[in-house]
């Protein structure tokens, strides 16, 4: 409060805001104090009052599905998709379908990719591609990796095309843009389980549904990046196009899209990464591949094998990310006049040549075509032993067990119980009070409305448990992320190193984060919190560094010249100025946590995620949607409040 005043905000507005906020909190406090004498209907919404939302939704879905014959349409689409998927499946891992050519020997795929990587990013990228493919083949995971890739190679281009089309439409028509924007932000907070069930119902189980869910999941950022890119094309380039006598179509095709190349390719990068993350998760609806294998291995507690699959997924993630980013950076370079045709297309030809060469070679040397189970270098059991041995070392064992005990008994369970103890109305009032204090009227009312809806759906307790997991993980993550960020921000060298590490960590499919958690803590609440914690610490660290490094140098110099010690400087100048940026990180951490908490349901939690996962087994589309909506509503409430807060702070500090 005091800080805000010093920064010259509108004092009156803040005073009323704080006033109303404290009013809300006081009423909430009254509820808490009188909890013993409150009637039961004020503590939880009585069962009788909960509307059967799931049933209604099911009715609507059934109407759309059967009476409007949407199912026929989607089944027709899935038929077409299936043909395409069969082709990639045949080529990449030899599924017995038309055109019956595959599987392509791994060495041939590897060789042509290495050349492509070299073309895009030089020796280092080529090396990365080489390591990724050779590792995958030698560890004996080529087939499952290609099962994953066969969906990805289809889903990514589809998502790009759909996103590009919708992005262009949104850019052309303001009203369309305005109407899809809220849908996009809901889609981006909707837990992935919510994508999966409709996909299953409308598009059959297996690769087809997996591909559809993946495409739907990856389209939103492509739309946003396309619109952004097209808006950013400089007016002069547009005018130059007009003065050259372009028709509308020529304008779009020859001027706008090429000039927005960078943003569009950034969109492509995001699509590829989201597709990978989602393809791994489609394991939950029975899509074979890396995800399914990982799920199975983790389920049977085969840590060594899970670890190996984890490395494969991580390697693929890094490789795909670096290669698509290198493509963004790749600027055209001219050829001198009279350059021969083969020189101009050197890399393409080389790639083709390498492909054919290894294709033929693999006929002679079978191991280049396929690494059989016996030949593979998989060390699953040995790694198991090492890890188990490592964890059995007394000091390590004691530490993890003490941590587990301490977190569980002293922190997590009491915190969860106290959250569950709070009467629903008080809970909503607290959220509104905080929202009003941090952001303002609009955000507080929205948050209140959203949480009220959550209460009415009848899934309050499970929602609160979800929330508890998210909050505890994010709070614990700040204890790691922020100090790490502060330390790293002190030197340029370490800043860029840690930022690179964060960048890399953010490309990993979220599923991966479960592996170390299960490894250390087994299957329980602590493991869930731990996996979310690592996942959420990444954006916190990242934005702390960016915030601190982004403090205008003249302000730091002014502090130095005023004789501030390092600690004073940090506390009085750097942290306050970095706070809005750190707020962005905090927001992302919460969003990530909501995402992760649903995935973590796999290791057994009692929250919405578990219920969501259960719906996948059946066809309870309505319930699935209600649950998904609850997660989305809670995530959106936080998103609105924190975003608004960072914006106001930034303005107050004059940081643009």
């Amino acid at each position: 409060m005091k800080k805000l005043n010093q920064n010259g905000m509108d004092l009156k507005a803040i005073d009323t805001n704080t006033g109303i906020a404290s009013l809300f909190l006081l009423v909430a406090l009254a509820f808490l104090l009188s909890r013993g004498i409150l009637p039961a209907w004020l503590i939880r919404i009585p069962e009788a009052l909960v509307p059967p939302l799931a049933v209604w939704l099911d009715l609507i879905f059934n109407f759309i599905k059967d009476d409007l014959h949407l199912i026929d349409l989607t089944r027709a689409i899935s038929g077409g998709l299936e043909v395409l998927l069969d082709i990639t499946a045949n080529l990449l891992y030899g599924r017995n379908r038309w055109p019956k050519l595959g599987p392509i020997p791994w060495a041939a795929v590897c060789a042509s990719f290495v050349v492509l990587a070299y073309y895009l990013g030089g020796v280092r990228l080529a090396l990365l591609a080489l390591v990724t493919f050779v590792w995958t083949a030698l560890i004996g995971q080529w087939k499952i990796a290609m099962q994953t890739m066969s969906v990805l190679t289809l889903a990514a281009p589809f998502a790009v095309l759909i996103g590009l089309g919708l992005g262009i439409t949104a850019w052309k028509f303001r009203t369309f843009d305005k109407s899809i924007r809220p849908i996009l932000s809901v889609l981006q907070t909707l837990p992935f389980f919510t994508y999966l069930l409709p996909a299953v119902i409308f598009f059959k189980v297996g690769p087809t549904a997996g591909a559809v869910a993946t495409i739907m999941f990856a389209v939103p950022p492509m739309i946003l990046m396309t619109t952004l890119g097209l808006r950013k094309v400089s007016t002069e380039i547009v005018e130059a196009g007009h003065m050259s006598g372009c028709t509308r179509w020529q304008m779009l095709r020859r001027v706008y899209i090429p000039a927005a190349r960078t943003e569009i390719l950034v969109g492509v990068n995001q699509v590829i990464m989201l597709c990978l993350a989602m393809v791994v998760l489609t394991a939950f609806i029975g899509m074979p591949g890396l995800g399914a294998k990982l799920l199975a291995m983790m389920g049977s507690f085969k840590i060594g094998r899970s670890f190996e699959i984890g490395i494969t997924i991580v390697l693929f993630a890094i490789m795909l990310d670096r290669m698509s980013k290198a493509w963004v950076m790749k600027q055209p370079v001219h050829f001198d006049r009279g350059t021969q045709w083969w020189q101009r297309h050197k890399y393409f030809l080389l790639s083709l040549l390498a492909f054919v060469f290894f294709l033929l070679l693999s006929q002679l040397i079978p191991i280049l075509a396929e690494v059989t189970r016996k030949q593979s270098f998989s060390q699953g059991k040995e790694i198991d032993k090492i890890i188990k041995g490592f964890l059995a070392i007394d000091s390590i064992k004691n530490t993890t067990e003490w941590l587990r005990w301490f977190l569980n008994v002293k922190v997590l369970i009491p915190f969860r119980n106290s959250l569950l103890w709070i009467p629903t109305p008080a809970f909503i009032l607290i959220i509104m009070g905080l929202g009003w204090y941090l952001a303002g009227k609009k955000e507080a009312l929205i948050a209140g409305l959203f949480f009220t809806i959550v209460a009415i759906t009848g899934w309050w307790d499970r929602s609160v448990i979800t929330l508890y997991t998210v909050i505890s993980a994010v709070v614990l993550a700040t204890f790691i992320g922020i100090p790490l960020g502060i330390v790293a921000a002190r030197s340029t060298k370490w800043s860029s190193r840690i930022l690179l590490a964060c960048d890399t960590a953010q490309t990993f499919p979220s599923f991966i984060y479960l592996i170390p958690a299960i490894m250390l803590f087994g299957v329980n609440d602590v493991a869930v919190v731990f996996s979310i914690l690592i996942f959420a610490a990444v954006p916190l660290t990242r934005y702390t560094i960016e915030g601190l490094r982004g403090v205008p140098p003249e302000m730091v110099e002014a502090a130095d010249m005023s004789g501030a010690t390092r600690f004073q400087k940090l506390l009085t100048v750097q942290l306050p100025l970095a706070l809005p940026t750190m707020g962005v990180g905090f927001n992302q951490a919460i969003n990530f946590a909501f995402f992760m908490v649903i995935i973590a349901a796999f290791i057994g939690t009692q929250d919405l995620g578990q219920e969501l996962q259960r719906t996948l087994a059946g066809t309870e589309l309505g319930k699935n949607f209600v649950l998904g909506m609850n997660v989305s509503l809670m995530a959106l409430s936080f998103d609105f409040i924190i975003t608004k807060w960072t914006e106001t702070r930034k303005q107050a500090l004059g940081l643009g």
Binding site: S234, E236, I237, E239, A240, H242, M243, S244, G245, C246, T247, Q250, R254, V255, P258, A259, R261, Q331, P332, V333, H334, F335, D336, R337
Partner: protein
């Protein structure tokens, strides 16, 4: 003069805001820029009438925000005007359909931009050939023509380069080449040299004068640099707050500034470098000897030495054919040379 104007603008208005057409119908022409601003509108161009004649170089000069760039965009219909009429070759451009407008630009207009407006994904050759490609010329002819213009602007050997591989000056040469590729009759240049550093700017101005000497296009040239305007212009239009303060030849602007605003620009100008002998010439009363006569098309500064040593009160002036055409008052001439 019997010359028909190529571009003729009459009472042109360009207002930015919520509902400019309606707003314009409510106000009278003498509303000031500030009054309009108070009503929440911006007057980009305010009641401008101007003619551009064939083969003439009209320079529109003004500070940033004076509306000069808006005016040239109205003339090329990159902006739709709010009021008034603009005709190009006696054709009202506001009445053109999209197709006709495209046709007009494909055949008659070329434009050069301040930040070049080059397409980053295309080579020099492809950028220059772009307008030709748009009008559907085949690959061979457009390559031929593009190479020709690239040679004209002195970029031979860089045809395959991409814009980002070139310096600013070279990039603008590409911009100029592109605008000339379709052999336009009308050439718009929007502060073409402003983004360049002073030495390059000077070089490009010389280059531009050379090109204009070869091509003789009708030109509308925008600049905020008064010296550049004086150096290049046949006529200068000085703009302020969307209006033209004065439109005249460089001589006249320097010698007889119409408003206080224009006078301030001329203050620091060394007038003798701008004013021709002809500009202050008066008819000879009776036949005089053409002994030691001055050439009328010389700048006063170039004849300053003669003015200083020739003590006659009136000095005869001859044209390029050495024919006697008039005389100048030595005192007036010397006053200009010494800046009094």
């Amino acid at each position: 003069m019997a010359k028909k104007p190529v571009i003729s603008a009459k009472n042109v208005w360009k207002i930015f805001g919520a509902n400019p057409k309606k707003y314009l119908s409510q106000i009278s022409a003498d509303y000031s820029f500030e009054q309009i601003k108070e009503d929440g509108y911006i007057a980009g161009v305010k009641d401008v009438s101007i003619d551009v004649h064939k083969g003439e170089m009209l320079v529109i000069m003004g500070l940033s925000g004076s509306g000069k760039s808006t005016l040239v965009r109205c003339l090329s219909r990159l902006h739709d005007i709010t009021g008034g009429t603009i005709s190009v070759d006696n054709q009202d451009i506001m009445s053109l359909t999209e197709k006709e407008l495209i046709e007009l630009r494909r055949s008659k207009m070329g434009m050069v931009f301040q930040s070049f407006g080059l397409l980053p994904h295309r080579t020099v050759l492809e950028n220059v050939a772009f307008p030709l490609e748009m009008r559907g010329q085949d690959k061979y002819t457009r390559r031929e023509r593009a190479l020709e213009v690239i040679k004209l602007v002195g970029l031979e050997g860089r045809e395959e380069y991409f814009p980002r591989e070139l310096s600013g000056g070279q990039q603008q040469r590409v911009g100029i080449a592109r605008s000339l590729a379709i052999e336009p009759d009308i050439w718009f240049l929007d502060e073409p040299f402003s983004a360049l550093d002073p030495l390059i700017r000077r070089e490009m101005q010389d280059e531009f004068l050379r090109l204009q000497g070869l091509l003789g296009k009708t030109i509308v040239f925008i600049t905020h640099d008064f010296d550049e305007a004086l150096r290049l212009a046949d006529r200068i239009a000085i703009m302020k707050d969307g209006m033209i303060e004065q439109c005249s030849t460089p001589d006249q602007i320097v010698l007889n500034p119409a408003t206080e605003y224009v006078r301030k620009f001329t203050e620091d100008v060394e007038k003798a470098r701008v004013v021709n002998v002809e500009a202050i010439m008066e008819p000879t009363g009776k036949p005089r000897s053409s002994k030691n006569a001055l050439y009328g098309n010389k700048k006063l500064r170039d004849v300053a030495k003669i003015l200083a040593s020739d003590t006659r009160e009136f000095i005869p002036v001859k044209d390029t054919d050495d024919k006697l055409v008039g005389q100048i008052n030595r005192k007036i001439a010397l006053d200009i040379v010494f800046g009094e």
